[in-house]
Symmetry: C2
Subunit: 224 residues, 2 copies
DNA sequence: AGTTGTGGATAGCAACACTTTCTACTATCG
DNA sequence: CGATAGTAGAAAGTGTTGCTATCCACAACT
């Protein structure tokens, strides 16, 4: 197929596709003459992947390039690919030298029975979140962490099962990338749905989730 | 205090503070003469709040303004303030007209016993995530949703308890804003820590989490 | 008296993600 | 055959965002 069809089937404008080609997000098509190229199903798939990372995941072009690079590297283990994807999704790797926050984080991971890797991205993010919370005077914030750990552990187990269920290594790699990004977005959406649901119920004086909710509800404002 | 001290105590450059003043993220100081103003502790606190939203939450200046506006509005219920904050955090409200995805999402929320509010931001995000997943060929993705719902429900309950534990309504408002943003960041960090932990353990052939992990571990690469 | 700091205004800048415009072709339809 | 539309590739332009830099007339401190 030619570039116009690629554009038509994905909704991505032709100049944007050209831009992605220039940026190395998409491999060049097969040249049939100096100014004519053919693209295949792989290009179509790749382009959709790029758009998902950019639109749903909010990744920058550079981050997408990193992620795609990790997917393509045949040397890379699944384990490492997950790391690359997570780093790309995480964005800025801010470091703090707040010792109190660092100690809180260390104590937390140890309490969870997790390894203490103080230089990992994830650990550093946790430290700066804790430092920020203290800055603002949210003293009770660290107490929330255990709840997050419970949820995080369950999610991590699920993620891993999902990834390992992929038939081939390449497929698994892609599940890592897309699943992380889509998974984050889906979790955020579901959490918001749950929050609203629960907030509405408590407003009405009900107790905890339990069975199916009552079907009638008007709640004219906060949708949109 | 004057602007220089505000700058010194927060690490935010003076021109940036002036910029925030211009943008209305920070109220003007009390003018003591035509070109001299005084700032108080409230300004200090507010400035730190702004930085937290911008740096940790990755919110745009406009989104921060929305959030702060919601915090200040005395008419606004907690319930609605949470909505505003979440909308600001969520960013782009993409809508899709993918009917299959829409139906999957509807079926999901119904199965959870939640209200079906097809025009809410959260629902729409879920629809576009599902549409994207299908686009890319991640057929098994919708099956992940139930796991997300379990985690999301637990998190939502915790969030709500936390917010309701605040002593005053103003404090609760702030907890909503900061807690949502920091909570997201903290959850992301914790989830990544858990993922890595679990991935390492499975590599070593261990079974599921259980008790505290073994202390020794080298894992020379994927930190940093 | 002079250095430093200030509020307020305007202008500038770098990064980002495209978009536009151009040229020299190629494909295809009538 | 010729008119029209499409193409690769390169270069320059665009709009937005989040700051920085520069200026000014004045204030504060030393």
């Amino acid at each position: 197929m030619r570039i116009a069809e690629l554009s038509r089937r994905t909704g991505v404008p032709v100049p944007t596709i050209k831009y992605y080609l220039r940026e190395g997000l998409l491999p060049a098509g097969e040249l049939t003459s100096p100014n004519q190229a053919r693209y295949g199903e792989a290009h179509l798939h790749r382009l959709r992947l790029v758009r998902a990372l950019v639109e749903v995941g909010g990744l920058s072009i550079a981050a997408v390039r990193d992620v795609l690079g990790a997917l393509e590297d045949p040397e890379k283990s699944l384990h490492k690919a997950m790391g690359t994807v997570e780093t790309a999704v995480a964005g800025t790797g801010a470091t703090t030298d707040d010792e109190v926050a660092h100690e809180q984080a260390r104590e937390f991971v140890t309490r969870q029975g997790w390894g203490y890797r103080p230089r990992s991205d994830a650990f550093q993010s946790l430290v700066s979140v804790l430092a920020t919370a203290r800055d603002i005077g949210l003293d009770s914030f660290p107490a929330q962490l255990d709840g997050y750990a419970r949820a995080g552990t369950a999610l991590a187990a699920q993620d891993l099962d999902y990834v390992l269920s992929a038939p081939t290594k390449d497929a698994a790699m892609e599940v890592v990338a897309v699943g992380t990004v889509l998974g984050d977005a889906a979790l955020a959406a579901v959490r918001r749905l749950a929050r609203r649901e629960m907030s509405v119920r408590r407003d009405r004086g009900e107790r905890e989730p339990g069975g199916p909710g009552s079907p009638e509800r008007e709640c004219a404002d906060d949708d949109r």
